[in-house]
């Protein structure tokens, strides 16, 4: 599916907008009973979208997973990001790679939630704040 920057197409005729106007062209508009209409067999396929929020086990699991990832990547707290994970592994030395990385992440998460609660809803959605977090954290550590 193409994502079109939401500008108004001149006359709405551009092919980029076809997906969005499809249902208007096919389902609305004047119908005159003295005319026949072409068969629309198979057209339903066009109306199916990937972003389906239906109640199913798969959806639940997908959303649970999405929540799990959410704050790790772009939560209110600075998440470690890859370079720092490597750093904490070297620090923890003998404790073993996976354990070090995992507990580090868990700390970050609980910090994140503490902050979120104390910040009484200040943690507005900031979907694009992710890029800088790793580097910022690095600076703080140094």
């Amino acid at each position: 599916m193409t994502v079109v920057p939401a500008q108004q197409g001149g006359g709405g005729g551009g092919s980029s907008g076809l997906y969005d106007v499809l249902e208007l062209v096919l389902d609305r508009g004047l119908v005159i009973d003295a005319f026949v209409r072409v068969s629309l067999v198979g057209i339903e396929i066009l109306k199916i979208d990937v972003r389906v929020v239906v109640a199913s086990v798969d959806t639940y699991l997908r959303f649970a997973e999405a929540c799990n990832r959410l704050d790790l990547e772009s939560g209110p707290n600075k998440s470690p990001g890859l370079p720092d994970v490597v750093g904490s592994i070297t620090e923890s030395g003998a404790r073993g790679k996976s354990k070090g990385a995992l507990s580090g992440a868990a700390e970050t998460i609980s910090d994140a939630f503490k902050q979120a609660r104390e910040g009484d809803g200040q943690s507005e959605s900031r979907p694009r704040a992710r890029k800088s977090t790793a580097s910022r954290r690095k600076e703080e550590q140094e």
Binding site: V4, A6, Q8, G9, G11, G12, G13, G17, L18, D20, V21, E23, L24, V25, L26, D27, R28, G29, L30, V31, I32, F35, V36, R37, V38, S39, L40, I43, K47, I48, D49, R51, V52, V53, A55, V57, T59, Y60, R62, F63, A64, E65, A66, C67, N68, L70, D71, S74, A106, I109, S110, F113, A116, R117, G121, S123, E124, S125, R126, P127
Partner: protein, 256 residues
């Protein structure tokens, strides 16, 4: 040869460009059938017409060309009459009705607005609004992701919260833009979007309508708004019986 009908317009309306072509491969030339004060924009109907991309686009293109500087009543895609005489016959028979529709819709265009959630942004929102979801996410993470049942329970909770948010935001989109429109038509619910609403807007006030959409975008960054228009008034040509009372303000009474 059967006749493909694109739309109905006033005969006084400036005609379509000379070389305009419509459906078919190769694209068939567009003609105008005039009956009294009305005109039908037609072409020959190609054999085996199907709702293919190029033909859908052609239909849409003819309507935007023919409706560029005047009102046109768009036909639904794929309307085919047995011949030209049937078309002119229908126009003559129902001329009062179509003239009335053209008067009512004169100077107005349709803008269709579809809203979806930016998933990541809405999850942030749900998290910050909902302590239970936060607590359970935290617990699951501490348990290394949580058991299958835990994850299901969290997912179920999140989906419910997202759905509630969808309903809330659908109302928000509608009520924010409704004051700028002469009429609205709520499209069928679908899994593809949380709101799908068409607004009938005065051509001259289209700019302020689009401004309002931009404001809405700025105020609610978790909403993804797609606007299509100006379009011929697909959703307002025929006040169907299925539309709930009050959704077509300014159109209902015009029918009688």
């Amino acid at each position: 040869m059967s006749t493909y009908v694109y739309g109905i317009t006033a005969a006084s309306h400036p005609t379509v460009p000379e070389d305009l072509t419509g459906v078919g491969d190769p694209a068939l030339p567009v003609r105008v059938l005039t009956v009294g004060e009305l005109a039908a924009i037609v072409s020959d109907a190609p054999e085996g017409l199907r709702p293919k991309r190029r033909d859908l686009l052609a239909h849409q293109n003819v309507l935007s060309e023919a409706g560029a500087d005047g009102c046109i009543l768009p036909m639904r895609f794929g309307s085919v009459a047995p011949d030209d005489d049937t078309v002119t016959g229908v126009l003559a028979e129902r001329s009062e009705h179509y003239k009335e529709r053209l008067r009512t819709l004169d100077g107005k265009v349709e803008y269709n607005v579809k809203a979806t959630h930016d998933e990541e942004a809405v999850l942030h929102r749900v998290m910050s609004d909902n302590p239970d979801v936060r607590a359970m996410t935290e617990a699951n993470r501490k348990a290394g992701g949580g058991s299958y049942e835990d994850r299901l329970r969290l997912g179920e909770m999140v989906v419910a919260a997202v759905k509630a948010r969808e309903a809330e935001d659908a109302g928000l989109v509608q009520s924010a833009l409704e004051p700028l429109a002469d009429a609205i038509s709520v499209g069928p619910e679908s899994s593809g979007w949380l709101a799908n609403v068409s607004f009938l807007v005065e051509r001259d006030s289209a700019a302020s309508f689009l401004e309002a959409v931009d404001e809405l975008r700025k105020a609610h960054p978790h909403l993804d708004l797609r606007v299509n228009g100006p379009l011929p008034p697909y959703s307002f040509v025929d006040p169907g019986p299925a539309e709930p009372a009050g959704t077509t303000v300014g159109i209902d009474h015009a029918e009688e």
